[in-house]
């Protein structure tokens, strides 16, 4: 018999029976839950709120940039806007969004486990996130912070008169939330896989989250200690980073980017995992070069640690080390390219379905590629000096972070929404939103590549008049993007009450999460599944379905 037939899998949980949503009632049953699925929902709500907050700062900035004059905000307020946009979007949205929402919900089910290895620690990590977000909101309400999300010294330790301590403390706490999530993922993947679920049978989303977790565990403590030293210098005036009192500002940048460059991979690696799941499901094929894709995640995690000083090319580092870091930065493109080529090879001659998750992932592949390739421009020493601190850099990282991570998150939330809620959303509105996001995104950020190349610096509220046309295009694109992001809030919310029931496996996808009811029961499976098939064994499933139809 084939390695996978539909009969191999005992479908657990019946439609309409008890599930994780209706198993218990009341606010406390949510706030004290140890169920990974409920914790994922808590994250979904809180991270969405932070996304709306971070997005509102972006809207204010784009409106300011409609005209060359600084006529809506003062320069000080504009400084606070881009700082808060960066802090909220990076620490409270991009880093946790896929691991904490989709990873929390799906990972244990993909492993055939009842929950994470440490359910209480999982809940603790959400509370740490909320505490950090609360401190961040306090800072925002009481006047904000103006250092940029990078908190560069000595501005942050001596000159800034805004809430530097508060916001770095928030970042410090959010870091621990991230560390605990990574720890839980690693232990769970090692210890709680279902019988038969060997490493090479794992879905690539699991491999991606594993690599992400390694980066979270190894990099985040360095950010924590760096922020503590920053606070210490600001409190005590003892010189660590401030050259006026014997410190070294470049040391701060080394330590900050030792975390913050790998943090880029914390944001993009889970997105790549989502891409692999969706590409396989909507092409009905095995991922081309499964092991290459799996190990390229680990390769990115490793190489991502060796490139941080490309953020310091004009900060006064030695030319020798700049050369080394430029060389190493080129290297990290190799595993990233392996993934893109393998997804593309999977698409080749496939019967591609144009369902909403696939639309987002097709957008992801293209936009991430542009973001990645322009990263190589910036890794090139000479070119980087030309475009350093210009809108070229802004466009580059938004192509990776928004074109990459946000597109993949939207793909993932649409792909697993039927599993999470048990309901289908309206496919027409969802496709329309995907189209609006793609068009709006490109209209927002592609002009910024040109602006940067022409020399418009980032982080100013006023600019030379010849840049206005491209800035108006960018703001117009941001308006379309905002509509594209608002639509899912409406139709996904609508689906909760009015969406048709999803059933166990609405996409006809392979994977343990598609063998349990939607929404899943409290403990995911009635009995522990036994895995006898490889990941993405669509050919075998198609064959089995064909045989059934022939009978």
């Amino acid at each position: 018999m084939s390695s996978l037939t539909l009969h191999d899998v005992r479908i657990t949980g019946a439609e309409g029976s008890r599930n994780y949503i209706n198993d218990e009632y009341g606010a406390l049953s949510w706030l004290l839950t140890k169920d990974h699925k409920r914790i994922a929902i808590l994250y979904l709500i809180s991270i969405t709120i932070m996304f709306l907050l971070g997005g509102s700062f972006a809207v204010i900035m784009r409106v300011e940039l409609l005209t060359p004059e600084g006529d809506l905000l003062t320069s000080d307020t504009y400084n606070k806007m881009f700082t808060l946009h960066g802090i909220v979007m990076i620490f409270f949205f991009l880093i946790p969004v896929i691991p904490a929402i989709l990873g929390n919900f799906i990972l244990p089910i993909q492993l055939g486990a009842k929950d994470f290895a440490f359910p209480k620690i999982n809940l603790l990590s959400w509370y740490l996130y909320i505490f950090a977000a609360a401190v961040g909101l306090y800072v925002i309400i009481t006047g904000g912070v103006d250092t940029g999300w990078t908190f560069y010294t000595p501005f942050s330790t001596q000159y800034s008169n805004t809430h530097v301590i508060g916001v770095t403390f928030a970042g410090f706490i959010a870091g621990f939330s991230s560390i605990l999530t990574g720890l839980n993922f690693i232990v769970t993947i090692h210890r709680m896989r279902a019988p038969g679920l060997t490493w090479y049978r794992l879905p690539l989303f699991v491999w991606a989250l594993y690599a992400t977790s390694v980066v979270m565990l190894l990099a985040t403590p360095v950010l924590a200690i760096t922020l503590v030293m920053l606070m210490f210098e600001r409190f005590t005036g003892i010189g660590i980073f401030n050259p006026a009192i014997g410190g070294d500002p470049v040391l701060y940048q080394h330590m900050f980017w030792f975390y913050s460059h790998p943090a880029v991979y914390i944001m993009i690696l889970p997105a790549m995992g989502v891409a692999s799941e969706v590409v396989a499901a909507f092409t009905r094929k095995k991922i081309f070069g499964y092991r290459f894709v799996a190990f390229s995640s680990l390769g990115i995690a490793f190489l991502g640690f060796l490139v941080w000083a490309h953020h310091l090319f004009v900060a006064g580092i030695s030319v020798y080390s700049a050369l080394i870091f430029a060389f190493l930065s080129f290297f990290v493109a190799v595993p990233s390219a392996i993934k893109v080529f393998n997804w593309t090879a999977t698409l080749y001659k496939a019967s591609v379905s144009w369902a909403t998750p696939m639309l987002y992932i097709l957008g992801f592949i293209g936009l991430f590629t542009i973001g990645g390739v322009t990263g190589l421009f910036l890794a090139a020493l000479g070119l980087d000096i030309h475009v350093h601190d210009t809108y070229f850099v802004v466009a580059h990282f938004h192509y990776v972070m928004v074109g990459g991570t946000v597109m993949a998150y939207l793909a993932g939330i649409h792909y697993w929404w039927p599993k999470i809620t048990g309901r289908m959303y309206n496919e027409f509105w969802a496709r329309l939103a995907a189209l609006l996001v793609f068009v709006g995104f490109n209209l927002t950020f592609f002009p910024q590549f040109i602006l940067g190349y022409l020399g418009m610096p980032r982080r100013y509220h006023a600019y030379a008049p010849e840049f206005q046309v491209l800035n108006v295009m960018s703001t117009a694109g941001a308006s379309i993007l905002a509509v594209g992001y608002a639509l899912p809030l409406i139709y996904l919310g609508f689906s909760l009450r009015f969406g048709r029931k999803a059933g166990v496996n609405p996409w006809g996808a392979v994977g343990l999460e598609w063998t349990t009811s939607s929404p899943p029961p409290k403990h995911n499976f009635e009995e522990t599944p036994v895995v006898t098939w490889d990941a993405y064994d669509y050919p075998a499933m198609m064959k089995a379905v064909g045989e059934t139809q022939n009978v």
Partner: protein
């Protein structure tokens, strides 16, 4: 039906054995740490020139190793735990080596 017999999977194979450390061993490590602290203070009273920092770091490293091996029970842990511990220090090494690749080459005036 699935052939369960070939897919049996015993996580208990990997379960760590719980080693009970005798009290005297903890006390001995505590004593060694106290001696290390005294040595650090004593060494700080003498000007050893370029050896000031290396000696202080050496004593601190020995103390940290004792804490990791005995108080954190790594010496009786699985090989996977050893991989994690050694890997963490390798990463710390990456931070140090590549940062020094900048600091130690700044006076290189060939350019």
């Amino acid at each position: 039906m699935a052939d369960i017999s070939v897919t049996e999977h015993h996580h208990s194979d990997h379960a760590p054995t719980h080693h009970v450390t005798p009290l005297w061993q903890y006390l001995l490590v505590f004593f060694a740490l106290a001696v290390g602290t005294v040595l650090t203070v004593v060494a700080s009273r003498f000007d050893l020139g370029m050896w000031n920092t290396p000696i202080a770091l050496f004593i601190a490293t020995v103390k940290a190793t004792l804490v990791i091996l005995f108080f954190m029970h790594v010496i009786h842990s699985t090989r996977l735990t050893w991989v994690v511990v050694i890997g963490s220090f390798l990463w710390l090494g990456v931070l140090f080596v590549l940062t020094f690749a900048d600091y130690l080459t700044r006076s290189w005036s060939l350019y």
